[in-house]
Amino acid sequence: MDKIFTISIYSENNVGLLNRISAIFLKRHINIESLTTSQSEIKDVFRFIITVKVSEDKVKKLIQQIEKQVEVIRAFYHTDEETIFQESALYKVKSSALFEERHIQNIIKESHANIVTVSPEYFVIEKTGFRQETDRLYQDLAPFGLLQFVRSGRISVSKAKMGISEIIKNFKTDN
């Protein structure tokens, strides 16, 4: 049965690696639901967080193919229960809505969203949380006219230990 898996990849930070990793999904006709890349907890080690909706058997094989890449240090997959994860969303709304519609202030307050900036023409709200929370805020704000909306890919940390520092330390002792 297909479900959402979070793939975490620790890698070298090299030009072209993103292409190499996305090619693994492309070759198997698997759609990437979201992708985030950033610096990891270790200096010079990069981290990818990719979410896909596939079967467990398929995600295992994806991990094998990802780990096969020379510049990938380790790759893991997790279910939602095994990770702490969040997404961020930004909502750009006309400023007139904020001042003329009292209701919108309640929406912002109840959803624990933050106002990032206010200008005479527009204001920007930021909300970090689960998909259903940013979705709900989207639905609540939509009637007031969203000028722009964008949501980030999932960011996630695993509940279990990743052990990347040990791998790097062992490499240094072996070589």
């Binding site: 292409n19 190499r20 096969k68 020379v70 510049e71």
Partner: protein, 577 residues
């Protein structure tokens, strides 16, 4: 496993000298023990060619007639010599012409380093003349690739490239070098690469898995070994033979594993797969233990996975973790170098013989001989068969030649019937099925093992895909023996059209040129045979020659290759006609 040269050159470390990037490329190749490369010059790689001119006494460059030929020649060289093959080309079309050979090397695990020129770094992304994104294009078909934009990166990247290409499961690596990086000068020092922190080429010996494997092997009543190229790539032929002999287990090969165990070995029961032997395919679904050694359960080997060896426990000796459970779920995966794993396994295996079980293979072989092999090798009809040509080649090479094949009917027939006495004697395009592979690969194969007889057996279709390499063979006077089995058809496709498309022969019939005249146009000795009585003398003359030689044999137009497992069918549904 490292060759002597690899160990010797490991210590090479030049003192720091100020040189150009282009010269650094040559010095890196020399430091890696390379003395032969294949390629084709062009604008963006000219600085490197200029250095090749200066170093021509140390580094031999073979000018192929097409960049694709350079890659296949490098592959042929790598497959017979065990060294890394090197191909070099310019940017744009030169680089894209390498892609088929790179993809072939990737799927058949052939160590190869490809070097391409690139437009100057200030022009990257500007759609400059002969600019192409070869890094993007080659990413899915390389083990690793890298674009060098600074001369100072050259030593480290080359060291890494050779290390990655030859270690673990070998494969192709591409290095793209911008023209300015070739011109710029820097302080050159070279240090061999001994490891890359994100890359683990070989897992350590798994003694627990080896013990488990030994237990299953000792308990099995009807065990069956299928081996692949891993035995050859891991230089594990001796260990493999010792394991087969001690355990007394019948062993069959995949097309890339061919020649790792001599043809005449009593436990060598033949080929598995689509056009493999009858017994090995049928008994895959009867054995109680399947021991896979250095093979990857390709669909041409397994047929329908739903019905593949379901009754058997499976042990998989494999170097690449991504191959474990990829196509077939295995009971005992033994990750690591098969040479090491087999060494550990042999003392744990009981000495046995499985005479009754082996007898089943003999019985089925008798059926195959009557139904298929007699007709192929001892035909009573007038037209020549591909099989009898192979028999004649066996006779005159005393069963000890290197066989290079292309793709199609002739490939299956040649691999089924050629006799092999030693390893690294079969060079073919297995995984990718690249028509046009054989002629340039034969050139490289001969250069990789110049003392041996190299016979290329090619169909009339594939031959014409890279026929221009006759020019390279002529220019280098490389004594390859070229046999074209001409049935005036794209035979394998025609066979499928006959069997599965009601004989609708869409675009498979070929009106061919005078192949002998073409070979003679390249000043090669050549002849054509179309009658049985002339075959043996012609093959004898070809093998006796110490020069390149071309032999065209006109064979029956509509012969088919059997046995055959239709696509998607089970191995036990193998057809004899």
């Amino acid at each position: 496993m490292k060759t002597k040269e690899q160990i010797a050159s490991q210590e090479v470390q030049s003192d720091s000298i100020k040189i150009s990037g282009a010269e650094a490329v040559i010095r890196c190749l020399l430091a890696e023990g390379v003395d032969l490369i294949y390629g084709y010059p062009g604008g963006a790689i000219m600085p490197v060619y200029d250095e090749l001119y200066k170093f021509q006494d140390k580094l031999n460059h073979i000018l192929t007639r097409h960049e694709q030929g350079a890659t296949h020649a490098a592959q042929g060289y790598a497959r017979t010599s065990g060294k890394v093959g090197v191909a070099i080309a310019t940017s744009g079309p030169g680089a894209t012409n390498l892609v088929t050979g790179i993809a072939d090397a990737q799927i058949d695990s052939t160590p190869m380093v490809c070097i391409t020129g690139q437009v100057g770094s200030h022009l990257l992304g500007s759609d400059a003349f002969q600019e192409t994104d070869i890094i993007g294009i080659s990413t899915p078909v390389t083990k690793w690739n890298y674009q060098i934009t600074k001369a100072s990166e050259i030593p480290e990247i080359f060291a890494k490239a050779f290390y990655i290409a030859r270690s673990g499961r070998p494969g192709p690596v591409l290095i793209d070098i911008t023209k300015d990086a070739q011109f710029d000068t820097f302080d050159f020092t070279y240090k061999k690469c001994k490891g890359v922190r994100s890359y683990k080429p070989v897992s350590p010996l798994d003694t627990h898995a080896v013990t488990q494997a030994a237990e299953l092997i000792n308990q099995a009543k009807k065990p069956f070994i299928v081996w692949g190229q891993g035995v050859i790539l891991g230089s594990a032929e001796e260990e493999f033979k010792a394991f087969v002999e001690k355990s007394g287990i019948p062993a069959a090969w995949t097309i890339l594993g061919l020649s790792a165990l001599p043809t005449a070995h009593p436990l060598n029961v033949g080929m598995v797969g689509m056009h493999g032997n009858y017994g090995p395919n049928l008994l895959t679904n009867e054995c109680d233990l399947l021991i896979a050694v250095g093979m990857r359960f390709d669909d041409r080997v397994t047929g329908n996975l739903e019905t593949y060896a379901k009754q058997a426990k499976i042990i998989h000796f494999e170097i690449d973790p991504a191959e474990i459970n990829k196509n077939v779920s295995v009971d005992v995966p033994v990750l690591g170098d098969c040479k090491e794993s087999l060494q550990a396994l042999i003392p744990l295996v009981q000495k046995k013989s499985h005479d009754q079980w082996l007898g089943r293979f003999d019985e089925l072989m008798k059926v195959e001989v009557t139904e298929v092999i007699d007709k192929d090798l001892r035909p009573e009809k007038e037209g020549l068969t591909m099989g009898e040509v192979i028999v004649s080649i066996n006779k005159h090479t005393k069963g000890d030649a290197v066989l290079v094949t292309d793709v199609g009917q002739h490939q299956m027939v040649a691999c089924r019937y050629t006799e092999f006495a030693r390893s690294r004697s079969n060079v073919t395009s297995g995984g990718l099925g690249t028509m046009g592979f054989a002629l340039p690969a034969a050139l490289g194969a001969k250069m990789g093992t110049p003392e041996r007889e190299v016979v290329a057996v090619i169909g009339d279709g594939g031959y014409q895909m890279t026929i221009q390499e006759l020019g390279t063979i002529f220019q280098t006077q490389t004594a390859v023996k070229i046999v074209v089995l001409n049935n005036e058809f794209l035979g394998m496709v025609r066979q499928w059209q006959q069997l599965f498309f009601d004989k609708r022969y869409a675009s498979t019939e070929m009106v061919n040129p005078d192949f002998v005249a073409i070979a003679k146009g390249y000043y090669l000795d050549a002849q054509k045979v179309d009658k049985r009585e002339n075959l043996d003398a012609a093959v004898a003359e070809m093998i006796a020659s110490d020069k390149p030689y071309f032999l065209e044999v006109c064979v029956e137009k509509e012969d088919n290759v059997f046995p055959m497992i239709p696509t998607g069918a089970s191995v036990s549904d193998i057809r004899l006609k």
